[in-house]
C-alpha cells in the first residue's frame, strides 16, 4: 500500500504527450466516414413506435432492400443463461412488426448520400399502428401490450438475491430510510456518429468492413455469423473512432446490412448515420427506477439494504451484453463501497416500445451511486450527523473485502480518499459562506459521493452475469523487428483514450527503449490477435497487463541473448537507453544489434535461442476496484431553478498512474458526462412513443459554459489485483458526479424541505419541487 503519488523512475508515471495527437490536430485522422464509396445507404425507419408492417414500396427505379431480401441473415439474439432471461430476437431490418420509432425497415442504395436520402423520403411505408408502451411501470402493468410475445409481462430478466440473514437483520433494525429515485434516459452521444463502410476485395474475395466500433474482433465474429459466412472472409477495421462511451460496443444492425450489401453486390457500400438517427435509434441508457431502503443501527451503521430495480431496456436486446446489463449491474453493485452484510434485491429488465438500451459509460453505476448516496445523505440528516461522518462509519476499511453479493474488493483507500476530498473542500468555510448567502436569499449547497468502481475485470465476472459471450482477457503480441523497432499488436481497440501512448510507456520501461521506438497496432482483425476492445474501464488494466507480460518475455530473451554475446551472467545484464550492458563494466551492446542478431545471426547463439524476437501473452485478471470521492459546490437559483456549479472536486485512487495527463483527461471527460446526466441531458418520449429530442438543440449536451474547472487529487494504492498496479479510470468521473451534484442541490434547497430524487434535475423539475413544497406549506 502506498499513499500519495509515486515519483516516476521510468517512462511510466510521466505525462508524455500522446502519440495519437499530431495526426489528429492536422486533420489527418482517419475516420470511417472519410472513405469514398460506390454506393451509399439510407435507412428507412419506422415513424411509429408499434405496429404491423403492411407495405413498404420503393419509388420507381430505386434500389431497396427489406427484410424479405435478408431472409438468410440471422436475427440478433444475445443470450444470458441466468436470471430468468428471456431471449428475444431482432431482425436487422424489421419484418412484420415494428417496435420503436427509428427502427430500420429498409435500406435504400444510391451513388450519393443526397440521392439515397431523396429516395428514402419517397418510400411509401404503411404500418397498422398498435398501442405503444413507453414507461417501464406501464409495461409491467396487467394487460399491457406485449413488445415480444415470448416475454410475459414484458419482463426479459428477473433477478433476485437475498443474503440468508437479510430478513432477520431487516426486521431487527431500529432505523429505516427509504427513497425512490428515477433516472431518465440518456444517449452516450459520441461526437462521431456511427458509420460503416464495407468493400468487396476482388483479389482476396472477401469483405473489408471499416466501422466505428469499440470491439472489432467481436463485430467480425457476430457479423460473419449472422450473414452466414466464414470469419476469414471478413476483415474488420476500426480506424480512428470519434468516441464511443459504450454506444459503439454494441452491434449496430445497420452494420450487418452494410456488410451484407457489399458482399451481395460485390462493391463498396457505406452508411454514416446522421445525428437524428443517432439520437433516436442508436442506443439509449440509464432509464431506471430504483426503490431503496436502508436499515441502520443506532450508530448510523447500515446493517441491511433492500433494493428494487426496474430498468427500461427498450424494444430489443443489444449484443453482446443484452438489455439486462443495467439491471444486473445494479443488483451486483448497489451496496457500493459500504460494509453492509445483509442485502436483498430484485432487479428486472422491462421491454418497451423505445430505442434499445445498451451500456453507456458507467453502466448503471451513475444511477445506483445516485441512489445509495442519496440514501446516505437522507440517513445522515435523520441521525443529525454530517455527510462525511455517516460515510466514514460505513465505508469498507479492511481489504480484501468480500461484499454481500460476493464481489472481492482489492486494496484501496475509501476512507483516506474521502478524507482528502473533504479536507480540500474545506467544509467549515463553506458552511459559513452558505449561511451568510442564505441571509441574502442565495442558496448554496455542497454534496458528495463516495464510490468504488469495478474495473479491468476478466471472464469470471462476465460469466457470473450469465453471458453467453464472456469477454475478459486480452492478448498482446509483442515483437522487436530486425531494425530494433518494437511493435505491439493488441486485440483491444481504443477510441480516443490514448491507449497507444500509455502502452508504449509500459513497454518502453520493460525493454529499456524509448517509447518512440514502440508502435502499437490496434483495430484491425488482420493485424491483431483476437481480443475484446474497450469497455468496462478495462483496456489499460488488461491490455496493459498483457503488454507487460509479453514485454517481460521479450526482455528475458533479450537479456539471455545479451548475456550470451557479452559473456556475462544474465543477472548482470541491465537494459536501458536502448542498450544492454553488463553492470559494473563497460561491456555493452545496442538492443538494435541484439535484434539484428536474433534474426540474421542466429548461428551466434548456437541453438540456445529460437530465431526472432516476438512473444505473445494473454491476461485475464480478477478485476480491481478504483475508488473516488466527488464533491460539488453549487448555487441554485430558486426563481429559475437553474443550478450553477461553483466548484467540482474529485479525489481519485486509480492505482498506479501510467500517464497522469491521460488519467486527468479521463476524469474531466467523465465528470462532464456526469454533469450532463445530473442536470441537462434527457431523451424524452411522448406517450405514444414518439421521440421529442431528435436534435442537439433539444437533447442538451453541455458546452464549455456548463462544465466548470475540475480540481483533481490523486492517491495511488498499489494493488496486487492488477499486473501494472493500474486500476481502471475510464468511467469513474461519470459514476460519481450525478450523486454529488444532486446531493449538493438538495443541500442548497434544504430550507425548503424538498427532495430532488430524479435526474436530470432540470430547472423545470427543481421549480416543480419548490412549488409543490410551497403549496404543501400554504
Amino acid at each position: 500500500m502506498s499513499a500519495g503519488v509515486a515519483v516516476p523512475t521510468g517512462w511510466v508515471g510521466r505525462s508524455l504527450r500522446r502519440i495519437e495527437d499530431p495526426a489528429l490536430v492536422r486533420g489527418s485522422g482517419r475516420f470511417t466516414s472519410d472513405l469514398p464509396a460506390a454506393l451509399w445507404v439510407r435507412f428507412v425507419r419506422s415513424p411509429v413506435a408499434a405496429g404491423k408492417i403492411l407495405r413498404i414500396v420503393a419509388p420507381p427505379g430505386a434500389r431497396m432492400v427489406t427484410a424479405a431480401d435478408l431472409a438468410a441473415v440471422g436475427p440478433i439474439r444475445p443470450m444470458l443463461h441466468k436470471f430468468n432471461y428471456v431471449p428475444i430476437e431482432q431482425r436487422v431490418l424489421a419484418a412484420d412488426v415494428v417496435r420503436f420509432v427509428g427502427e430500420p425497415l429498409a435500406a435504400i442504395l444510391a451513388p450519393s448520400r443526397e440521392e439515397a436520402e431523396d429516395l428514402a423520403e419517397r418510400v411509401h411505408v404503411e404500418i397498422d399502428a398498435t398501442s405503444a408502451i413507453v414507461d417501464a411501470y406501464a409495461a409491467i402493468a396487467a394487460g399491457a401490450p406485449l413488445v415480444h410475445a415470448q416475454a410475459r409481462g414484458n419482463i426479459i430478466v428477473d433477478a433476485r438475491v437475498a443474503t440468508p440473514g437479510f430478513a432477520a437483520a431487516s426486521a431487527a433494525a431500529r432505523h429505516r430510510v427509504r427513497l425512490r429515485i428515477r433516472s431518465r434516459r440518456q444517449n452516450a452521444l459520441p461526437l462521431e456518429p456511427r458509420a460503416a463502410h464495407a468493400a468487396w476485395d476482388p483479389v482476396e474475395r472477401r469483405i473489408i468492413l471499416h466501422c466505428s466500433t469499440q470491439m472489432p474482433h467481436l463485430m467480425r465474429t457476430i457479423i460473419a455469423q449472422l450473414i452466414g459466412m466464414a470469419e476469414s472472409g471478413l476483415r474488420v477495421i476500426a480506424p480512428d473512432v470519434g468516441g464511443g462511451f459504450g454506444q459503439k460496443m454494441s452491434l449496430a444492425a445497420e452494420y450487418v446490412v452494410v456488410a451484407w450489401l457489399a458482399r451481395s453486390l460485390r462493391t463498396s457500400v457505406a452508411w454514416t448515420e446522421d445525428r437524428r438517427e443517432n439520437l433516436i435509434a442508436s442506443f439509449h441508457a440509464r432509464d431506471q427506477h430504483i426503490d431503496l431502503e436502508g436499515m441502520f443501527d443506532d450508530a448510523a451503521r447500515l446493517v441491511a439494504l433492500r433494493a428494487d430495480v426496474l430498468a427500461n431496456v427498450g424494444a430489443y436486446a443489444c449484443y453482446p451484453t443484452t438489455g439486462a446489463v443495467e439491471a444486473l449491474m445494479a443488483m451486483a453493485e448497489m451496496p457500493g463501497p459500504y460494509d453492509v452484510r445483509d442485502y436483498s434485491c430484485t432487479a428486472r429488465g422491462v421491454l418497451t416500445h423505445t430505442c434499445p438500451m445498451a451500456p453507456y459509460r458507467g453502466v448503471s453505476r451513475p444511477v445506483i451511486t445516485f441512489a445509495i448516496e442519496r440514501l446516505m445523505d437522507k440517513a445522515a440528516a435523520a441521525f443529525g450527523i454530517d455527510a462525511p461522518t455517516i460515510r466514514r462509519r460505513n465505508l469498507v476499511r479492511a481489504f480484501p473485502y468480500t461484499t454481500a453479493t460476493g464481489l472481492v474488493f482489492d486494496e484501496a483507500s475509501y476512507v483516506e480518499t474521502m478524507d482528502a476530498a473533504v479536507l480540500a473542500a474545506d467544509l467549515p468555510a463553506f458552511r459559513a459562506r452558505q449561511a451568510a448567502a442564505r441571509l441574502q436569499g442565495r442558496y448554496l449547497g455542497i454534496g458528495m459521493s463516495t464510490f468504488c468502481e469495478r474495473t479491468g475485470y476478466g471472464t469470471p465476472a462476465f460469466a457470473a452475469r450469465g453471458m453467453d459471450v464472456t469477454p475478459g482477457w486480452e492478448t498482446v503480441v509483442l515483437g522487436i523487428d530486425p531494425s530494433g523497432c518494437v511493435e505491439a499488436r493488441i486485440g483491444s481497440s481504443p477510441h480516443g483514450q490514448g491507449l497507444r501512448t500509455a502502452l508504449s510507456q509500459i513497454i518502453a520501461d520493460e525493454l529499456g527503449v524509448s517509447p518512440e521506438r514502440v508502435t502499437v497496432v490496434h483495430g484491425d482483425t488482420d493485424r491483431t490477435p483476437y481480443g475484446w476492445g474497450t469497455f468496462a474501464s478495462r483496456s489499460l488494466v488488461i491490455a496493459g497487463g498483457a503488454a507487460l507480460m509479453a514485454a517481460r518475455k521479450v526482455r528475458a530473451k533479450l537479456i539471455g541473448m545479451a548475456a550470451d554475446l557479452l559473456e556475462a551472467a544474465p543477472e548482470d545484464i541491465v537494459l536501458g537507453d536502448g542498450v544492454a550492458r553488463v553492470s559494473g563494466t563497460d561491456r555493452a551492446m545496442a538492443i538494435d544489434a541484439l535484434a539484428r542478431a536474433a534474426y540474421h545471426q542466429t548461428h551466434r547463439f548456437k541453438g540456445t535461442f529460437a530465431p526472432g524476437l516476438a512473444e505473445s501473452a494473454t491476461y485475464d485478471p480478477p478485476g480491481t476496484f478504483s475508488n473516488a470521492c466527488h464533491i460539488a459546490l453549487v448555487e441554485v437559483d430558486i426563481e429559475t431553478g437553474r443550478v450553477g456549479i461553483e466548484k467540482f472536486l474529485v479525489a481519485e485512487d486509480a492505482g498506479r498512474l501510467i500517464n497522469p495527463m491521460i488519467v486527468d483527461g479521463q476524469i474531466h471527460g467523465g465528470v462532464a458526462q456526469g454533469i450532463a446526466n445530473a442536470l441537462y441531458e434527457e431523451v424524452i418520449y411522448d406517450a405514444g412513443g414518439d421521440i421529442l429530442t431528435a436534435t442537439l438543440a433539444d437533447y442538451l449536451p453541455p458546452t464549455a459554459r456548463e462544465i466548470p474547472p475540475i480540481a483533481l487529487h490523486h492517491r495511488e494504492t498499489l494493488t496486487e489485483a492488477s499486473l501494472t498496479k493500474a486500476k481502471g479510470v475510464g468511467e469513474g468521473g461519470t459514476i460519481g458526479a450525478p450523486a454529488a451534484l444532486i446531493n449538493a442541490v438538495n443541500d442548497a434547497l434544504a430550507p425548503f424541505g424538498v427532495s430532488i430524487d430524479e435526474i436530470p434535475a432540470t430547472p423545470q423539475r427543481i421549480r416543480d419541487a419548490l412549488r409543490a413544497a410551497a403549496a404543501a406549506k400554504a
Binding site: R26, G27, G665, H668, T703
Partner: protein, 162 residues
Amino acid sequence: MTQRAAIVLNLNGVDHAISVEPRRTLADAIRDDCGLTGTHIGCEHGVCGACTIIVAGEAVRSCLMFAVQADGKRIRTVEGLADGEQLHPLQEAFIAHHALQCGFCTPGFLMLSLHALERDPDLGDEELLDLLASNLCRCTGYQNIVKAVRGAAAVMRAGVVR
C-alpha cells in the same frame, strides 16, 4: 435535382474546380469532392461546430452553408493550419494541454479559435468561454481546450509564429 453548378473552392490557397448540385453543403463538397476530410461532420444541423472552417475571413459552420455560396472565396480548413512540419501554436497547445481525446471535435475547435485569436489575441477569459461554448466536445470536459486556447493566445500575442 440533377442540375449541377461548376464552382471553384479555394482551399488553403489551392483551387479545386468541382461540379456540385446547388444543394450540396460546403462541408460535403470539401470532404467528398475535394477530398479534405479533416473537416468533420457531427450533426449537420449547426449545433456541434465540428465542421467549423473559415470562409472569407469569417468562421462558419460548413454544414449550414452551400458549396455554391463559397464559390471563389478563400477558405481555410484544418489542413492548412500547420506550416509544413511546423505545427501552428494552436495545434501545439492542443497537444501540450491534452485538449483532445478522440480528436473528432478538434478541427472545429482549432478553426473556431484560430479565427477568434487572429482577430483578437487578447480575448478575455469570459469572451473565450463564450466563444468555446459554440462547439461541442464529448471527450475532454472542455477544461483542457480552454487552457490550450489560452496558452496558444499567449504564444500568438508574443508573435512567435506568424
